[in-house]
Every structure is written in structure tokens, then in C-alpha cells.
């Protein structure tokens, strides 16, 4: 009897404990979520204030009056449209070239036999480990001598032929049974036909991953455009924003408004496709 009561007691204690733990878990999660979101909230809040209100004491999270005119003011101060157009052009071109050429090359590496296959592939793998920062200078010298300095093409060729894309696609193609290719060959498909009609449709998931990461990576790239693009007509949104910050360093409210604008496109892409982001990282896990 006493034993039973004790057990019951322990049960009650354990369930209250688990409720407390669960509550604690939510408290910690919500606190961390706030910590993660606060810069974005502050950014939006500051972008709707007057510059002297930005650092008011105590801080006001919700502006007294919403100064929406900040957002119309910035369009006359910064050539945002040009920046967006340049960034979109680069990002789309890079994503297209990168995805097309690396899936093309990856098919040969995964499914065709030819002399020098291993040597060539080792070249790719070896450069994945080499940080771009160690060869950005010789690359710059080369591009300058080719007349690509201060053109959008510099960033396009810089980003389009990464070893990472080939590596990722090859890994995926290796998982596709070779028998499929052989059956197609017997049916009279050429190698190009096999790539287009069998490999591409089967590798949608890998291509989605590559497309998203290339697009977002190129959109957010800062160091490349900073080195190569000097004239305002060529600037991307990242270096354009940086220029605006340097030239209007105390217009906090306007800087924040431009920042919010610069974040919007990628945020939309991310929210729409986040499933693929998560899957991409979980399956490949690599992109340093």
C-alpha cells in the first residue's frame, strides 16, 4: 500500500518535473529566437524613425510616428534600381552557367570512362580545399589583363566555375544506377541524350540545392564585387550599400532603410524555398 502511494507520488513529481522542463525549454527557445531576430526588428524599427530618434534613451521599439518617407527618400539618394539589376544579372547568369556546366562535367566524371579522368577530378577536389582568398590576387591580375576589371563579367566568371558544383553533382550522379544509362544506350540514345533525358530529370533535388546555394551565395557575395566593381553603374547591392554607409555614415535611419531593402529579395527566396535549403545542407553538409 505504502509502496503504491510512493510510486504514485513519484509519478506525480516526475510529471510536474517534465512540465517544468518543457516550459523551460520553450522559455529558452523563445529567448534565443528573440536574440536571433532582434537585429532585424531593430533594423526595421530604426528605418522608420528620424535619425535623432534612432539612439533615443530609453529605446523605443515602435517608432512614435512611422516615417515611411525614409523609404521613398533613399531611392533618390542611391541608385538602388541599378544595384538590384546588376546583382540580379550576375546571380542569374552565375547560377545558370554554374548549374549547366557542372552537371555536364559531373556526368562525364560519374558515368563515362576516358583517359585522365582521375587526374582531372583530383584537380577539382584539390582546389576545393584552397581558400579563394589565397588566389584572389593572381586572379585579379589575370582578369585585369583580360580587360575584365570593373565589368560584371569579372564576377560572373569568378563565381561560375567552382569546383564545388562539379563535386556536388558528381556525388549525386554516382548514386544513379549505371544500368539506366546502359539501357538508354542500347535504345539508341546518345550520351547527350542520356544527360538531358535521364540524368537531369533524376537529379532535380541536387540541382535545386546547387541553384539555391549558388544564387544566394552570389547575391550576398561582398568581397568579389568589392575588389572588381568600382564604378557606380556596375555595383551590386552589397557594395552599393557599403558605399552608401561610408558616404552617409550618420544617416542611421536611411542606412537601415537601404539595408532592409537589400535583405528583402533573398528573404523572399529563402522563405519560399526553405525546405530545399534545409534538405541541401542536411544531405551535403558542405559549403564552407
Amino acid at each position: 500500500m505504502t509502496q503504491l502511494a510512493l510510486n504514485k507520488n513519484a509519478g506525480v513529481r516526475r510529471s510536474t518535473l517534465s512540465v517544468v522542463l518543457k516550459a523551460l525549454l520553450y522559455v529558452v527557445l523563445i529567448a534565443l529566437a528573440l536574440f536571433t531576430l532582434i537585429p532585424f526588428v531593430w533594423m526595421i524599427s530604426a528605418s522608420l524613425k528620424l535619425d535623432r530618434e534612432v539612439f533615443s534613451y530609453p529605446i523605443r521599439w515602435i517608432p512614435e510616428t512611422f516615417h515611411w518617407e525614409n523609404y521613398s527618400l533613399i531611392w533618390s539618394k542611391v541608385p538602388l534600381i541599378t544595384y538590384f539589376k546588376n546583382t540580379a544579372t550576375i546571380a542569374l547568369l552565375v547560377t545558370f552557367i554554374q548549374t549547366l556546366t557542372s552537371s555536364f562535367a559531373a556526368y562525364a566524371f560519374a558515368k563515362l570512362r576516358f583517359r585522365g579522368r582521375n587526374t582531372l577530378f583530383i584537380c577539382y577536389v584539390a582546389t576545393i580545399a584552397v581558400p579563394w582568398q589565397t588566389y584572389m590576387l593572381p586572379q585579379f591580375i589575370l582578369m585585369r589583363s583580360m580587360g575584365l576589371y570593373d565589368t560584371l563579367w569579372a564576377i560572373v566568371v569568378l563565381q561560375s566555375f567552382s569546383a564545388f558544383g562539379v563535386f556536388l553533382m558528381r556525388q549525386f550522379y554516382q548514386g544513379i544506377p549505371t544500368e539506366l544509362c546502359e539501357a538508354a544506350r542500347i535504345d539508341g540514345l546518345s550520351e547527350y541524350g542520356i544527360w538531358a533525358r535521364i540524368m537531369l530529370p533524376l537529379s532535380k533535388a541536387a540541382i535545386a540545392t546547387l541553384v539555391i546555394f549558388t544564387f544566394v551565395g552570389t547575391w550576398n557575395d561582398y568581397m568579389g564585387p568589392m575588389i572588381y566593381l568600382t564604378r557606380d553603374v556596375n555595383k551590386t547591392i552589397q557594395v552599393g550599400l557599403q558605399r552608401f554607409i561610408q558616404e552617409n555614415s550618420s544617416d542611421y535611419h536611411l542606412i537601415m532603410a537601404v539595408s532592409v531593402c537589400s535583405l528583402l529579395p533573398v528573404s523572399v527566396v529563402f522563405l519560399a524555398l526553405q525546405k530545399y535549403f534545409i534538405q541541401g545542407i542536411a544531405t551535403t553538409g558542405l559549403k564552407g
Binding site: A33, F40, F104, L241
Partner: protein, 319 residues
């Protein structure tokens, strides 16, 4: 007769084989040409550049100096005279190495601890798990310039962060990024904030792979939640932790964007990092040889970690 047949067959076969090889090369070529010109060639060129003195003018102004650039960045003569302490307190390279190492040593464990904690929390039946996951991952896709400038403003003298810590009772009212003691911490904070969501996703994937029967066995043996965490979850996660930490170490050694936007390497040399040093020598001072020699130091460090990762990958794969 049979012999000629054979020979004919052979010749036809080689022609067929050659055609097959050409097809294969045509697949590789579009990517490989771009890759060879814009990546492979520069990589080799950068090794060469580290042995010459060059200000970037005509190629004829290049001057072979052997290990001269390395002697220059390590200030070998001075260091030999005054000891190793001189390297890490006075020499640019030593300071950049020290700062980068300090940044890495703090950022890596902090990021991984936050990532594991978040992954463990979200791996349970939590309401709104997808929403939380989205929130934590979002900083990773947000562009650096916007978020770094926002953090810099928030850490200003009268900014919200100082207001918060004053409210807690800590008396501090300087701009973090202008204070040589705090500047590197501001960079660490932003880095952890940005990367923890990414590694959380990796850990979440790893947690799904932990066999459920291990927990059942542990429960049967009377292990409580904490013991299960220490003796089941952590060991099962150790390959992931290993790969995540080498990846993170390598990316920490390449830190640039955050530093450039938040502190420009300052105040003084307080946040000078390896890559900021390379950038300054290459694109501000036009010391192409020196910049390439520093780049080689970075390359060697990154290669060491990559090799460790490769060898451990074999070990884990064999187990």
C-alpha cells in the same frame, strides 16, 4: 584472314573508343576551361608570386627574391634577435595570426554548443518547430553588409545593447567596435549569431540518424535523460561534431566580411586578421609578393585542417 579481321576490329574499336573519349571531353570542357583559367592557373600563379617582389606594374619589373617575402612577413631577423614574443606583439603577421586564432578558438566551441542545444531542443516534439528552425537559420542567408552594419549600430555607445547591459548593472558605455578590448568580441558575437542556425541544421540531420533502440536499451538499463545524453547522444554525434568543427575552423580562418564591415581591422590592429592583412597588402599597398606570401601561410593552415579531416573521414568510413 582471321588475323586481318581481328586487326580491322581492333582499329574500328579504337576509333569507336576515341569517339567515346571525345564525347566525354566535350562534357568536361565547358566547365574545365573556365575552371583551369580562373582557378587552377591563379592558384599556381600565387605560389610563384610569393617568391617575387612586384608592385603590379609591367611583368618585367618583377624581381625574384626567393624566400625574401617570407623573411619579411615573419621579420625573421628581428624575431631571432628579440625572441618569439616580438613576433606576436609587434609584427603584423604575428598579430594577425594571434587575432585569427583567438577568434577561432572562441567562435568554434560557442557556435557548436549553441547549435547542439538548438538541435536537441528542436528534435523533441516542440510546437512550432518549423517556425523556430526558420528563425534560427535565417541569419545565415541574410546578407553580411546589412546585418553587420546593423550590429555595429546596435553596439554603439548609446545603442540598445549598451542600454541593456547598463540595465543589468554593468557599467559600460563605449562603442564596442571602437574599443580595442571589445572589438574582437563584437565580431565573435556576430559570427556565432550568424552560423549557429546552419550547424543546427547539420546536427538536426545527425540526430535523426541516431538509432532509437540505443535510447530504449539505455532506458532499460536505468539511465536517466542526462546519462542518455552523455553516453548515447554525444558519442553518436561525435563524427558530426568533428566535421562541423573542422569546417568551422577553416571558415573562421577565412574571416573577412564581418571584420571589414564592423571594424576595418581596428581599432589599431586589434581585429587585424589573416585575410584583412592579405587584402591590405594586395589592394591598398600593392605589395603583391608580400600579399602572396601571407596567402601561403593561410593556405598551409587550411590545408593542415583539410588533411586532418580527410584522414579522419577514412577512419570513420572504415568503422
Amino acid at each position: 584472314m582471321a588475323q586481318t579481321d581481328n586487326r580491322l576490329l581492333k582499329r574500328r574499336k579504337t576509333r569507336y573508343e576515341r569517339k567515346k573519349e571525345l564525347v566525354a571531353y566535350s562534357f568536361i570542357a565547358p566547365n574545365f576551361i573556365g575552371f583551369a583559367v580562373f582557378t587552377l592557373l591563379p592558384v599556381l600563379f600565387s605560389i610563384f608570386l610569393s617568391f617575387v617582389k612586384w608592385k603590379g606594374g609591367a611583368f618585367s619589373t618583377m624581381e625574384w627574391v626567393g624566400l625574401g617575402n617570407y623573411a619579411e612577413i615573419f621579420k625573421t631577423a628581428k624575431v631571432a634577435e628579440k625572441g618569439l614574443g616580438y613576433l606576436f606583439t609587434k609584427v603584423d603577421l604575428g598579430i594577425a595570426l594571434k587575432n585569427t586564432l583567438f577568434y577561432t578558438l572562441i567562435t568554434v566551441p560557442l557556435t557548436l554548443i549553441c547549435a547542439v542545444a538548438l538541435a536537441l531542443a528542436l528534435n523533441r516534439a516542440v510546437k512550432g518547430a518549423v517556425g523556430f528552425r526558420t528563425v534560427f537559420f535565417f541569419p545565415y542567408v541574410a546578407s553580411m553588409v546589412a546585418i553587420c552594419v546593423c550590429w555595429r549600430f546596435m553596439m554603439m555607445k548609446d545603442g540598445p545593447i549598451n542600454q541593456l547591459i547598463m540595465a543589468v548593472g554593468i557599467n559600460y558605455n563605449k562603442s564596442w567596435t571602437a574599443d580595442s578590448a571589445m572589438a574582437i568580441w563584437s565580431i565573435i558575437l556576430v559570427s556565432v549569431w550568424r552560423n549557429m542556425g546552419y550547424y543546427m541544421v547539420i546536427y538536426l540531420a545527425a540526430l535523426q540518424g541516431v538509432p532509437q533502440d540505443l535510447y530504449e536499451a539505455a532506458t532499460m538499463d536505468g539511465a536517466n535523460k542526462w546519462q542518455q545524453f552523455c553516453h548515447v547522444t554525444l558519442p553518436q554525434l561525435s563524427p558530426t561534431t568533428f566535421f562541423a568543427s573542422t569546417m568551422l575552423i577553416i571558415s573562421c580562418f577565412k574571416i573577412y566580411d564581418v571584420v571589414k564591415i564592423m571594424t576595418e581591422g581596428g581599432p589599431g590592429r586589434a581585429t587585424k586578421m589573416l585575410v584583412t592583412y592579405i587584402y591590405d597588402e594586395a589592394f591598398s599597398n600593392f605589395n603583391y609578393g608580400i600579399a602572396s606570401a601571407i596567402a601561403m601561410v593561410l593556405l598551409v593552415i587550411v590545408l593542415i585542417f583539410t588533411l586532418i579531416q580527410f584522414s579522419m573521414e577514412d577512419k570513420y568510413a572504415n568503422n
